[in-house]
């Protein structure tokens, strides 16, 4: 018998409640003191097709899903057909007895068919066939001999709030009936069990977008404007839901161009502002990004990637937009690019993005992707230190127009918005005070902010230098977040960025447990960086293999371009599915052969 280490997968058509059932189950398991990692896979449609949700359970923090499934909950026949091969020998397939599934074909490959009268229980006990999902999750709990009270608690939380306790209680009765029946029939046959950890701390179950939302709130972001686009929409929705409580202005704009421009306007007035989008929407923002660079306006853009080109694979994942984000926009202007890799990093670096944007008065792009945005993980509550993030709010050279005394002191010798300074950072006084009346322009401008009608070479050189030198200051003072994981003297270093963190970290554990010496080098900070320092870090590595969810190993190219060091091999994945530890382990073998 294996306790508290297994993967449960739910599959069915869009509209059958695969995701909500999976997340409910995951939350119940987490409340029992276990660690979970939940990943979803869905199609760009509201009904039909095939969606699945996978919950991995463990007794230590999990950073990724893995590929071996122990229990499959099939809401339709296709799920059995598509996923039976992922099951371990002795794994179970739970399905409604009304589905056309051939139990013998499952037994023939050492799987346990587990037909159950799920629909019947839902109908007869609950009086509603829609409660079949509840029956399925409860049956799974019965098979794993997992304490049903955790499932009941989640049911009461979910239904009690929205639809009243009567519906909740009917669902609980369905759960009890399905649980008992499944336990009686199949628990003795099934090897994997879930057992609550007594006294475990209460942990959060949270995904990347939610973590970003918390980070933005903690950073004092007050203006959010954007246009819905998968996988960024749930971040926009999260912040819209918090608007009243936290005094935010959240605007759904007519397009992404307007989304970033609203941010530029609000930031120009002295408010922390952000937009969120995916590649297509970011493409539309590009001209405005250049305006933010020229006018030195601090805006924060969350770029939640999905595979392109064009509409690409709208509900899937990839890291294809790195070089685009680094170079997006006409002309040369300063920007920062950050790519957190875990929900904890999402929280902290979202907040940090606002500090960098305001300190250097430039746009900051924070990159995630569908995998990071939507995958849920258990984390300790303390892992999100709200108070420290709030304390670290740093607004840079900013004086607000209602801060009368500060404005007077700052403008004694007059005020020039784009005053030349050694750091390139000029005092920012948003419009509104009589001592700081000025224009700004996307056109090349004078230190006063007027369009430079003479277009003199001298002014142009001064303004370009002023703006661009902020990058080297930023690289020195505020950038350089990277992490090694694994043995210091590793023979092979897996180089990665952003959301690859989890799968690569888990792959390092797998590979080292099989006698290899592998570590991970993960970058959150992509640009600007002190490249001499990065070069020294790379020199500490022996064989470097880049691991990325794109075709051309874009981060590896960025590194080569700036340090001259070429990674020795690469592992890329661009099928729209997230990287996973097993894939990386298998591909590493192939990559090393080629080195």
């Amino acid at each position: 018998m294996v306790k508290n280490s297994c993967t449960i997968k739910l599959g069915g058509e869009a509209g059958q409640g695969v995701e909500s059932s999976g997340m409910g189950f995951a939350k119940a398991i987490a409340r029992a003191g276990l660690f979970i990692f939940g990943v979803q896979d869905y199609m760009s449609r509201i009904r039909g097709g095939h969606n699945w949700y996978q919950v991995r359970v463990g007794t230590r923090p999990l950073y990724s899903h893995d590929t071996t499934v122990h229990l499959l909950l099939a809401f339709d026949e296709r799920t059995v057909h598509d996923h039976a091969a992922e099951l371990i020998k002795g794994g179970g397939v739970l399905y409604d007895e009304g589905l056309k599934v051939d139990p013998e074909s499952l037994s023939a490959v050492d799987l346990i068919p587990m037909p159950m009268p799920l629909l019947k229980i839902a109908d007869e006990v609950g009086g509603n066939k829609l409660m079949m999902n509840t029956a399925a999750v409860a049956a799974a709990a019965g098979i794993c001999e997992f304490d049903l009270s955790y499932i009941e608690q989640v049911i009461r939380d979910n239904f009690g709030r929205r639809k009243g306790s009567e519906i909740a209680e009917r669902n609980v009765r369905v759960a009890e009936a399905a649980y008992e029946e499944a336990r009686k029939r199949y628990a003795p046959l099934f090897d994997w069990k879930l057992d609550p950890i007594p006294g475990a701390p209460k942990r959060m179950v949270i995904n990347g977008n939610q973590a970003l939302g918390l980070g933005a709130l903690a950073a004092g972001c007050k203006m959010v404007s954007g246009y819905p686009m998968t996988p960024a929409s749930t971040l926009l929705e999260f912040l819209a839901a918090q608007a009243r409580k936290f005094g935010l202005v959240v605007r759904q704009t007519e397009d992404e161009i307007s989304g970033i421009l609203h941010c530029i306007g609000a930031a120009h007035a002295g408010v922390r502002a952000m937009s969120c989008t995916s590649g297509g929407g970011f493409s539309l923002m590009v001209e405005s990004l250049s305006l933010a660079g020229s006018t030195e306006t601090p805006v924060v853009i969350v770029l939640a990637q999905r595979p392109g080109p064009a509409t690409g694979l709208p509900t899937r994942t990839g890291q294809e937009d790195l070089l685009f984000a680094l170079h997006a926009g006409h002309g040369e202007f300063p920007r920062a690019v950050l790519a957190p890799g875990s929900v904890e990093q999402c929280f902290y670096h979202m907040a940090r993005a606002f500090n960098i944007a305001e300190k250097y008065q430039m746009p900051v792009i924070l990159m995630t992707d569908n995998f990071l945005a939507n995958s849920i993980r258990t984390v300790e509550k303390e892992a999100f230190d709200i108070a420290s993030v709030v304390r670290s709010i740093e607004r840079g050279a900013l004086v607000l127009p209602h801060e009368e005394e500060k404005v007077r002191a700052a403008t004694e010798g007059g005020y020039r918005r784009y005053e030349w300074t050694e750091t390139g950072i000029s005092l920012r006084i948003p419009p509104g005070h009589p001592s700081a009346v000025y224009s700004v322009a996307g056109e090349e401008h004078t230190p006063e902010g007027f369009i430079d009608w003479e277009e003199t070479a001298q002014n142009r050189n001064m303004m370009m230098t002023k703006r661009m030198k902020k990058l080297s200051v930023c690289a020195e003072e505020d950038m350089g977040v990277y992490e090694f994981y694994g043995p210091e003297d590793a023979e092979t270093t897996l180089l990665c960025w952003g959301s690859s963190y989890g799968p690569v970290r888990e792959a390092v554990d797998v590979l080292n447990s099989h006698g290899m010496r592998v570590n991970m080098l993960h970058f959150v900070d992509i640009h600007p960086l002190n490249w001499d320092a990065v070069g020294e870090i790379l020199d500490r590595c022996h064989t470097i293999v880049a691991v990325e969810a794109n075709y051309s190993a874009q981060f590896s190219r960025w590194l080569t371009m700036n340090t001259g060091r070429r990674p020795d091999g690469k592992i890329t994945k661009y099928d729209g599915r997230p990287l996973n530890p097993d894939f990386i382990a298998v591909e590493l073998g192939k990559a090393l052969v080629r080195v």
Binding site: G265, A267, G270
Partner: protein
Amino acid sequence: MSAPATLTMRDLQSPVEPTWCPGCGDYGILNAVKRAMIQLKLPPHRVIYFSGIGCGSKLPDYVRANGFNSLHGRPVPIAQGFLLAHHDMKVVVVDGDGDSYGIGGNHWLHIMRRNPHITHIVQDNMVYGLTKGQYAPTSMKGYVSTTSPEGTVEYPVNPIAIALAAGATFVARGFSGDPKHLADLIAKGLEHKGYALIDVFQPCVIFNRVNTYDWFRERVYKLEEEPGYDPHDLNKAWEKAHEWGERIPIGLFYVDDETPTLEEQIPALAHKPLYQQEIAPSVEQLEALKEAFV
């Protein structure tokens, strides 16, 4: 930060000299904008002009006030973002027909149904001046230009009709050849609680040889002087919006003082402007929000 007792043209004098051609219709608009500020005693620090790209969009540099010269077609969303962050400022958009009726048309359509307190002056010269004479969205059908050598085959945008259909709560048209009348319209627009469109006939003396000062002078008449015209009557306004030919109406077509502004409907803005609000959120509230994930 109190307003000066009096405000004169001198107070609004910018150190920057206009680069416009002699006789350009934009001078009349600049003059009218300053007159309106004086009429309303609006000191420079209380006003911000957002402009697009084009000859007329250079205007913010030529009047002493706050300004933001942005991108072609994009001042409207920037102005909205600014207003939501600082809603006790007078926010004005000054752009051209190519900006808001062309490349930024989508933004224009949507600001009108939101009704933010923004005054939108569109310099409508019916030609692309700064790029040297291509046809504009408002060029009349058949207009011959460098990009329509055989005459345009498109019908022109009718800004007044579109604004009425889109829900604009203040719809007016002025003529830069009559800065006094235009100043009055702009002042009314600035006072209007909501979105105010002021489309301005602005002759381009270099590139538009059809719609000249004389061409307009022969045709325009003021709705204010039209017996019995009531700008609260949407149907009448709709009718006047389509009058084009021997007689072309200018003045206030339509006004609706009932519709609430965008910013009035946003809870976060109920007490003070966003930029003045404490940036640090409540740690307790955020800790409580974390519990929702447990």
